[in-house]
C-alpha cells in the first residue's frame, strides 16, 4: 500500500490541519482510497465549509414549504396534492475547460437532483456568464455551452424555457454555467435520501462506472491557473439518452412502493451518495465494489469511489422488491445491481476481492467536516451618482439604439432558438418575457419561472445587489401574474480565503436574507461555487437566483407585448433618477461606477401586490418590469414583442436621460384600456402606489415627446443582430 506523504495529502486538496483531523478520527493513517474519500467529502464543493455559517442565516420556511435545503432539491406545495421540486446548480469549472460536455452534464446533474425526489422535470432554466464579447475565448465558450445546454435538455425532451446571459470581463477566465430544473410530483410521492432498514439491499442503477470525472469535486474547489487546460480529463461526459431512460425507469419504479431511499450520484459520485444516505439515516453501509457495474476492467476501489460517471443512482429498496425493480431497469436496458446492504455499524465498509479496502465511520466523517468562519471585510459602499452628476448625451435616440444593441440588453434569441422550449406541450410563455410560464400538465394552473442577478450591482454593493437579485425574480414572477413561492440560489464567488471576497459573500447573503423575509419568499435549495478565480482575479460576486411562482388560473396571466393600438400606458413606481451602475453609464460613458439603485422592500411589495391584483382582476393587457436599461428599454421591449409602438410623454423635474434610463427598482409598465385606466388610477391612489399615465400605444415607433423617436424596425435591427453578429466570424 502506498504510504501517505505530505505531497499526496496536498494533491488531495486537504490542509495540514484537516489531515490531522483525519488521523484523529481514524486513529490511524488512512489508505489512499480512504484519503480520496475524505478529500471529496471535505471539499468545498461537498462540505460547504466556508459558506455553511452564512447559509444557515437564510430563511427557509413558509407554510407552503415541504422540504427546504439539505435534500437533493427544494419542495413547495402548489395545491391539489401536487408539489414543485426545483434547484439550481453550478457547473462552472468543467464548462470553462470543455464547454459542451461541462454544460451538458451540468444540466444532466440538476435534472437528476429533481427526478431523484420523485418529480417529472417540466422545465429547465439557466443563468450564464461569459467574458467580454471580444475576448478571444468568448465565442468558443458561448457556442459550446449553448449547444451543450440545448443538447442535453433537447434529447431528454424537457423544455429549456429561458434564462439569463451576461458578458463581462470579470468572467474572461472563469465563466459561470448555472442550470436549474423544475419538476412536478404528487405530495404523497416524494422521495428522500435517508437510508433505513438494517439489512436492506443497496442498489446501483443507471450507466456503468468509468474512469471519467475522478476528482471533479476537488477541481471545482480550486482556483484556475494557466495549466487548467490539463484538467480536461476530469470533465465528465454526458449521455442524455441514458438519462432519459433512467428518468423513465425511476419514475416507473417510484409508482410502486419499493423505494425506501434514493440519491443521485453527482459530484463525488458513489462516495458522496453512499455517505449522504448513510449519514442522513444514521446507519452504516457495506458495499461490495466488485458488484458495481464497471465500464472497464482493472479499476481500483479509489477510482470506482471517486468516479463522476454520469446517469447513475443509488437506492435502498424494500427487501423482496429487488426482482420487480430489476425487471423495470432491464426493460429500459439499464444496469441494475445489488451492491451492498444497510448495516447497524455506523460505518462505511468497502470490500473488493473479499478484502476490506476502506473502513470509515460515517457520522464522525460527516460531522467533523470542517466549518470555517473565514475572516471578511465589508465592501465599502460607493457614492450615489445622481441625475445631475451625469452630463446628458446630446441625442437620446442614439443612446437608446446603442443600449438596445449592447451586450447586456440585446436579444438572446440566438441562444433560446437552440433550446427546445416547447416540447411537452405546456409552455405558455416562451423565452423573452419577464418569466417563462409552463402549465401544470392537465390542470388550469401554471408555474412562472425566472433566473436573475445583476453582478455589477453585487460588486458595487453586495448587500444591495443580493437584495436586488431576490427582488428582481419576485418582480419578474409578479409581472406575469404569478404569486412568488420560493427561490433556489446558486452562489458564485471568488476565493473565500480572501477577506474581501468573503465580505462580498456575507454582504450578498445579508441582502438576500432581508429580501426573502420581507417578501415571504424563502430559499428552499441552492448551491455554492467558490474559487471562481483565474490567476488571482475573482469574478464579480454572482448570487444567481432562480424563483418560481404559481399562477392559479392560466388565463390570468400577463405578457410583455403591447396588445393593441390606442391603449393607455401606465408607469408603476417612483423614479429617483440615480444613475449609478446603470447600463446608461456603462454603455454611454464607459463607467461602471457608483451605488446601484436602492431597494426598498416595502415599496417593492406594495407595488408588486398592486400589479398582481390588477392582472388577476383582468384590468391589465400587458405588463413588463423595469430593470436593466430603465424605462426606455422596457417600453422598447414591449414594442418589439408586439410590433406596436407607443407615444410617451412625462412631465418631470428630472432630466430626460435620468427619467428614461435610470434603473430605479419596484417599477413596472402596464397597459390597459381607457375605462380600466381610470379605475386603476383610483385603486392606486387608495393603495398609495405611484401610478402615472405616460402615454398611448400605437404606430410603428417609440416616440418620447421632445426626447426621441425610433422606429421599431431600427430598434429590432440592432436588438436582434448583436448576438448573431458576434457569433458569426467574418470570413467563415
Amino acid at each position: 500500500m502506498t504510504e501517505i506523504t505530505k505531497e499526496i495529502v496536498a494533491e488531495h486538496g486537504l490542509s495540514e490541519s484537516e489531515y490531522e483531523q483525519v488521523l484523529s478520527i481514524l486513529g490511524r493513517e488512512p489508505n489512499r482510497t480512504e484519503l480520496g474519500i475524505f478529500s471529496v467529502m471535505w471539499s468545498e464543493h461537498c462540505s460547504y465549509k466556508s459558506s455553511k455559517k452564512w447559509l444557515k442565516t437564510l430563511p427557509t420556511e413558509a407554510p407552503w414549504v415541504i422540504c427546504g435545503p439539505g435534500e437533493n432539491a427544494g419542495v413547495v406545495d402548489i395545491g391539489d396534492g401536487q408539489a414543485a421540486i426545483f434547484k439550481m446548480e453550478s457547473h462552472n469549472h468543467p464548462s470553462f475547460i470543455e464547454p459542451y460536455q461541462g454544460a451538458a452534464t451540468g444540466v444532466g446533474g440538476i435534472l437528476r437532483d429533481v427526478f431523484t425526489m420523485g418529480a417529472r422535470p417540466v422545465a429547465n432554466m439557466n443563468a450564464l456568464r461569459f467574458g467580454q464579447p471580444n475576448h478571444p475565448r468568448t465565442r468558443h465558450l458561448v457556442s459550446g455551452v449553448i449547444a451543450g445546454v440545448g443538447g442535453y435538455g433537447n434529447c431528454m425532451g424537457i423544455p429549456t424555457v429561458g434564462g439569463e446571459t451576461n458578458f463581462h470581463s470579470s468572467y474572461d477566465g472563469n465563466i459561470l454555467v448555472n442550470a436549474m430544473t423544475v419538476g412536478i410530483a404528487d405530495t404523497d410521492k416524494i422521495f428522500y435520501s435517508a437510508a433505513a432498514g438494517i439489512g436492506n439491499p443497496v442498489v446501483y442503477v443507471g450507466s456503468k462506472t468509468g474512469r471519467d470525472g475522478i476528482h471533479g469535486a476537488t477541481m471545482a474547489s480550486a482556483q484556475f491557473d494557466d495549466d487548467s487546460e490539463e484538467k480536461r480529463p476530469t470533465v465528465q461526459v454526458g449521455d442524455p439518452f441514458a438519462e432519459k431512460l433512467l428518468l423513465e425507469a425511476c419514475l416507473e419504479l417510484m409508482a410502486t412502493d419499493a423505494i425506501i431511499a434514493i440519491q443521485d450520484m453527482g459530484a463525488a459520485g458513489l462516495t458522496s451518495s453512499s455517505f449522504e444516505m448513510a449519514d442522513k439515516g444514521g446507519v452504516g453501509i457495506r458495499l461490495d465494489i466488485d458488484k458495481v457495474p464497471m465500464r472497464e476492467e482493472g479499476m481500483t476501489p479509489y477510482e470506482v469511489m471517486l468516479s463522476e460517471s454520469q446517469e447513475r443512482m443509488l437506492m435502498v429498496l424494500k427487501p423482496g422488491s429487488e426482482e420487480d425493480a430489476r425487471k423495470i431497469f432491464e426493460k429500459w436496458e439499464l444496469d441494475f445491481a445489488v451492491i451492498g446492504q444497510v448495516t447497524d455499524t455506523g460505518k462505511m465498509v468497502l470490500t473488493m476481492n473479499g478484502e476490506v479496502v476502506a473502513d470509515l465511520p460515517v457520522g464522525p466523517l460527516a460531522d467533523a467536516a470542517p466549518e470555517y468562519d473565514r475572516p471578511w471585510v465589508k465592501t465599502v459602499a460607493p457614492a450615489r451618482i445622481k441625475a445631475g452628476d451625469v452630463t446628458p448625451a446630446s441625442d437620446l435616440g442614439d443612446v437608446l439604439l446603442k443600449i438596445m444593441g449592447s451586450s447586456e440588453v440585446a436579444s438572446r434569441k440566438w441562444i433560446w432558438e437552440q433550446y427546445d422550449h416547447m416540447v411537452m406541450g405546456d409552455t405558455i410563455q416562451r423565452p423573452g418575457g419577464d418569466a417563462a410560464v409552463v402549465r401544470i400538465h392537465g390542470t388550469d394552473k401554471a408555474l412562472a419561472i425566472t433566473t436573475d442577478c445583476n453582478p455589477r450591482y453585487c460588486y458595487a454593493d453586495p448587500e444591495t445587489g443580493g437584495k436586488q437579485a431576490i427582488a428582481e425574480t419576485w418582480r419578474n414572477l409578479t409581472a406575469t401574474g404569478a404569486t412568488p413561492l420560493a427561490v433556489t440560489d446558486c452562489m458564485n464567488f471568488g476565493n473565500p480565503e480572501r477577506p474581501e471576497i468573503m465580505g462580498q459573500f456575507v454582504g450578498c447573503i445579508d441582502g438576500m436574507r432581508e429580501a426573502c423575509i420581507k417578501l415571504d419568499y424563502p430559499v428552499v435549495s441552492g448551491n455554492v461555487s467558490l474559487y471562481n478565480e483565474t490567476n488571482g482575479t475573482g469574478i464579480h460576486p454572482t448570487p444567481a437566483i432562480g424563483g418560481i411562482g404559481l399562477i392559479s388560473q392560466s388565463d390570468h396571466m400577463a405578457t410583455i407585448a403591447f396588445k393593441s393600438a390606442g391603449e393607455t400606458v401606465l408607469l408603476v413606481g417612483d423614479t429617483s433618477g440615480d444613475m449609478g451602475q446603470s447600463i446608461y453609464l456603462k454603455e454611454i460613458e464607459g463607467r461602471e461606477e457608483g451605488a446601484p439603485p436602492a431597494v426598498n422592500l416595502d415599496v417593492e411589495k406594495r407595488n408588486g401586490d398592486f400589479v398582481r391584483d390588477a392582472i388577476h382582476n383582468g384590468m391589465i393587457t400587458a405588463c413588463h418590469d423595469i430593470s436593466d436599461g430603465g424605462l426606455a428599454v422596457t417600453l422598447s421591449e414591449m414594442a418589439l414583442a408586439s410590433n406596436i409602438g407607443a407615444d410617451i410623454s412625462i412631465t418631470s423635474d428630472l432630466p430626460a436621460h435620468a427619467l428614461y434610463f435610470a434603473e430605479d427598482q419596484a417599477r413596472y409598465v402596464i397597459t390597459t384600456d381607457a375605462l380600466n385606466a381610470e379605475k386603476l388610477l383610483q385603486n392606486a391612489q387608495k393603495a398609495n402606489v405611484p401610478l402615472l399615465n405616460i402615454g398611448t400605444t400605437g404606430h410603428n415607433e417609440l416616440k418620447i415627446v421632445n426626447t426621441l423617436a425610433i422606429s421599431i424596425k431600427d430598434m429590432r435591427h440592432v436588438h436582434a443582430n448583436w448576438l448573431p453578429d458576434l457569433m458569426t466570424v467574418p470570413g467563415h
Binding site: 440545448g150 434529447c155 441514458a242 432519459k244 432558438e417 437552440q418 433550446y419 411537452m424 388565463d555
Partner: protein, 229 residues
C-alpha cells in the same frame, strides 16, 4: 376511428402527439412500445418526434431497423395512413418508406422556433384543412432537418405533387432566406407515391390552442381525424 402512436426509447414528443390526437379524436390513441412485435388494429399510425435510441449512429437509423417499424412498413404498404413527424420523418426515410434523408441543419445548430410553411400540394387526408398555396405556421425543433435527395428524386417528388409543405415567410415567399435548414427546394414535408404517408419536420402537434400560441396544428389534426372517420 382508431389511432396508434409508436414509442421508442428516447421518443419525447409521444405525449404531445397523443394529446393532439386526443383533442381532435375525443379518445386516446394506443401507445405502442417499440418492443411489441404486433400492431393493434388501427386507422392511423403516428411516429412521433424525439431522439429514438439517442439518435446514435444516425438520426432514426436504429429505430428504422426495429421490429415494430417492419410492421409499420407493412401496414403502410397496405394503405394505412402514417404521420411521421420530426424524428418520425427521419425514421421513415431510414426504413425506405419515404425517399431521401434528413441531414444536419445547414447552420449546424439545433433550431427551435415557429416557421411559416406554404402548402405545396393537395392531399385531402393530411392537408385538407388548407388549400394549395395557403400559409400555415407550425414550430420546428430539430438538429437534422435538412432534407436531401438526389436531383432525379426531387424532380419526381415535384412532378408527382409529393411536396407537402415548404419553408416560406409569412407572405408565402419561398426563398433561400426562408430555407431555415438548407433543405432541397425548401422541403419541409413530403408524401410517398401513394399519398398515405406524410413525413414532416415541423410539429403540428405543438400548436393546438391559442394558449400555446396558435391553432394551425389543431386544424391539421381535426381534418386528419375527420377524413379518416
Amino acid at each position: 376511428m382508431k389511432a396508434a402512436v409508436i414509442v421508442f426509447p428516447g421518443s419525447n414528443c409521444d405525449r404531445d402527439m397523443k394529446i393532439a390526437i386526443e383533442q381532435s379524436l375525443g379518445s386516446s390513441p394506443t401507445m405502442v412500445w417499440h418492443g411489441d412485435s404486433e400492431l393493434p388494429d388501427t386507422d392511423l399510425i403516428a411516429v412521433p418526434g424525439g431522439f429514438s435510441y439517442g439518435d446514435y449512429l444516425r438520426c432514426g437509423a436504429i429505430a428504422g431497423n426495429s421490429p415494430i417499424m417492419r410492421e409499420v412498413v407493412k401496414r403502410a404498404a397496405s394503405g394505412t395512413p402514417i404521420l411521421a413527424v420530426c424524428n418520425g420523418f427521419q425514421i421513415a426515410t431510414e426504413t425506405g418508406m419515404l425517399p431521401g434523408a434528413l441531414l444536419r441543419n445547414a447552420n449546424q445548430k439545433f433550431i427551435c422556433k415557429d416557421v411559416h410553411l406554404k402548402v405545396s400540394s393537395q392531399n385531402n387526408r393530411f392537408s385538407g384543412a388548407f388549400k394549395v398555396d395557403d400559409i400555415v405556421r407550425f414550430p420546428v425543433a430539430h438538429h437534422d432537418g435538412n432534407y436531401f435527395a438526389d436531383a432525379d428524386t426531387v424532380a419526381r417528388l415535384e412532378d408527382n405533387g409529393q411536396i407537402a409543405f415548404r419553408y416560406s415567410d409569412e407572405d408565402g415567399v419561398v426563398s433561400p432566406e426562408t430555407n431555415i435548414n438548407g433543405s432541397c427546394n425548401n422541403i419541409a414535408g413530403i408524401y410517398n407515391d401513394a399519398g398515405n404517408i406524410l413525413g414532416l419536420m415541423p410539429h403540428p402537434e405543438r400548436l393546438i390552442s391559442d394558449q400555446l400560441g396558435g391553432t394551425d396544428g389543431k386544424l391539421f389534426f381535426d381534418n386528419l381525424i375527420n377524413s379518416l372517420n
